[in-house]
Symmetry: C2
Subunit: 434 residues, 2 copies
């Protein structure tokens, strides 16, 4: 089929009629499918069921330094958890705090602490007239929700396959002391799946922020979440690079096992410089006596070490890789060459980022919803939910069973085509009315 | 032995000499004992080991509404957890949010939220010149640490066996709009073990705060932590009483299973009015996707219902009751009638509150420490760690094995006597130097 843009009005109308008829069929199917969130599917969760067996009433629940994990204490995590998650994050265990079940919670708390107490002695952000964050777009809606909740002004920065526009980041960060942070998902980023290039990481580590309390919020959510065995993205480790660049305190790095074991029942962690850790612990000791050490121990006893964890991740990949491939295949077969959409082909992570023609995303998502397929809301990948071009849509292929996913993907491409023909017809009508 | 106060200088000197000799013996024993924190002992932790068996790889981890507890979601807790903890707290499950592993964390977050966002539309506390909290004393050091961390001015209010001085509470709360909260441990309070009387609870529910965003922080930490089967304290349920009094939004009530199952690996909860819940959830949804539902399920499957939990608490009581009784016995036998100290005899909770002669507490704790017995720091039961009379000491009998506890208790009373004789001799010397 030729690109829609090259079609005549009559051709477009005929195409639209055929598409509408097909859409009617979907409506009649009473679908109820969900491609909206980055949730592991049942088979992925089943992978970790063995973790439910490693601790039982016959097992000694002391960790290697003799601490009884069943009792109070140990603010920053048991040593073996720091070791394993240190290996996972590529950081020294001494630079790590093990938290509770949610890295989002850690990020939220990190912003909240800066609001009320500043960072390493700086003025609390709540006392400032204006606080701003840079937000690479498209990005993660839950990041943006945190900064929006705290009244922090968000400035979009375009993403590319090598990472955020670093010219823009450097210019803004070095000139505006109100800019206190930037949200980053550096590897297999949400939603594009792009990984930051070596140059991007190097430039991040060499930022010269106007604000001494500027921090990079480096959400390493998909650090080991590869889809392929051989084709994997490697990043320069940011803490080490910051240290080498003479900027040791510039970054907070977050991760969790949410998409390794059980989302909501995993363990989260933060890695940063010793100065930052000291600053954080001053607050943390008032907030809690300690996080769930039994669950830390459960993870350790299950994986044993980073190799065990990596083998486990291969099993995840073998479940979700076919889903990504299938969606990419449906996209290519149905939209390839039509000129009405482009999409990413990530080597890891949980999402595919789709860009429709301008002004079509909301309507595409609405049509899919009407036919029973829930997508992430159009605009969600932008601060304040406002995508100025109304074109980006996040596709989350992991959760639905592959058969359902195929139906959902086919409906999705149909909606893209349907809405695109309508848009083009609209444009042609406007043109002809001149 | 006659009261120390009635002794002559020579009698006191002789007594001091004998006590010093005995103290020397303890020094030679190289003790290393801990009576400092309200931690369950090993035998108590062992009680809950069965909880490690209820979930295994053969068990369905869906909760009763079909939610897969292994995946994301369910911001406020699974229904059966709300039911069980509702029964535990004597509140409607609809009034409850189930949190993570720490009620301290929930309290901290509650204050932090008020700092940055106010309460139900009020001005954020961080924007106010002055925020004050009332602090019944002696009280819980970790409560005071939270308000101190946020720069909230703490005003001590004396505790009595019926609760805080309600004349003072009413007067202050109704006249000063800067007073935004009061820390309460209403049942088997920390450290006195006192439970609020019916009149106290009624008066709390009928407070007429000058500040619309005043809240009672009702830390129901020891709601079912009885020491005796028959002699138990019953409180009027505060949420219900507030509702009846026309003050439905006046209270946040906190609890957890930390001292029921495993501290640090339990589940925490908050009960409050639907208005307050709505206000809280607006924040909570930005902070996390949900708490650990697998651990919620683990607790439910283990206890089944509130009766199971109460039977479990009887086992706790049978382990720690003898410890309380032994300490009380040592106190009575060694200090009874001497006029140099008084102490509480709680029917539940985790502490005994001891009051020495004025100006002696720090020195008593120091002497005990020198001989290898760690007590809670003197002053810790007061805001800013400053006990103006330097007399209150918190005794935590639960953690050490009973044999060690006996040694520690005997050393403690020895230190009380030693420091008291020194204090009285000092006074007599001052008198005779006139």
């Amino acid at each position: 089929m030729k690109p829609y843009i090259e079609m005549t009005k009559d051709e477009l109308a005929a195409e639209h009629k055929a598409l509408s008829k097909e859409y009617e069929k979907y409506l009649a199917m009473n679908l109820s499918l969900d491609m909206s969130r980055g949730k592991p599917c049942k088979e992925q969760l089943d992978l970790s069921m063995g973790m439910m067996d490693v601790l039982n009433s016959g097992v000694d629940l002391r960790c290697e330094d003799g601490t009884d994990c069943r009792n109070y204490g140990c603010l920053d995590g048991i040593p073996e958890a720091k070791q394993l998650l240190g290996d996972m994050m590529e950081n020294n265990p001494n630079n790590i705090i093990i938290y509770g079940n949610s890295s989002l919670n850690v990020m939220y708390d990190t912003v909240a602490r800066a609001m009320t107490h500043g960072i390493m002695g700086s003025k609390p952000w709540c006392r400032l007239d204006k606080v701003k964050f840079l937000c690479p777009v498209p990005g993660y809606d839950r990041h943006f929700a945190i900064t929006e909740y705290f009244g922090i002004e968000m400035i979009p920065v375009p993403m590319s396959p090598t990472g955020p526009d670093m010219d823009m980041v450097e210019e803004l960060v070095s000139s505006d002391p109100a800019i206190k942070g930037i949200w980053c998902v550096p590897k297999y980023s949400n939603p594009s799946g792009y990984s930051y290039s070596d140059e991007t990481v190097r430039r991040f580590a060499r930022l010269r922020p106007a604000a001494t309390d500027f921090r990079i919020f480096w959400d390493n959510a998909y650090g080991i979440h590869h889809l392929y065995d051989k084709e994997q993205d490697y990043l320069i480790e940011i803490l080490a690079e910051c240290k080498r660049a003479g900027n040791p305190d510039l970054v907070y790095k977050f991760a969790s096992t949410s998409k390794i074991t059980f989302p909501g029942s995993g363990i989260a962690c933060l890695a940063t410089s010793l100065n930052n850790l000291e600053d954080i612990k001053k607050q943390l000791k008032n907030q809690t006596i300690g996080h769930d050490k039994v669950n830390q121990l459960r993870h350790i006893r299950y994986f044993k070490d980073i190799h065990g964890m990596m083998e486990h991740m291969r099993k995840h990949a073998s479940i979700i890789r076919p889903k990504f491939e299938m969606v990419e295949d449906v996209l290519e077969k149905n939209l390839g060459g039509l000129g009405i959409g482009s999409w990413t082909k990530p080597k890891g992570g949980y999402f595919i980022s789709f860009d429709s023609m301008e002004g079509c995303a909301k309507e595409i998502v609405l049509r899919a919803k009407k036919a029973g397929v829930v997508m992430t809301g159009a605009g969600a990948t932008w601060p304040y939910g406002k995508d100025p071009k109304d074109s980006n849509i996040r596709i989350a292929p992991t959760f639905p069973p592959v058969e359902e996913l195929e139906v959902a993907a086919k409906l999705f491409v149909l909606c893209v085509k349907l809405v695109s023909t309508e848009k083009l017809l609209e444009v042609q009508n406007e043109d002809s009315s001149d």
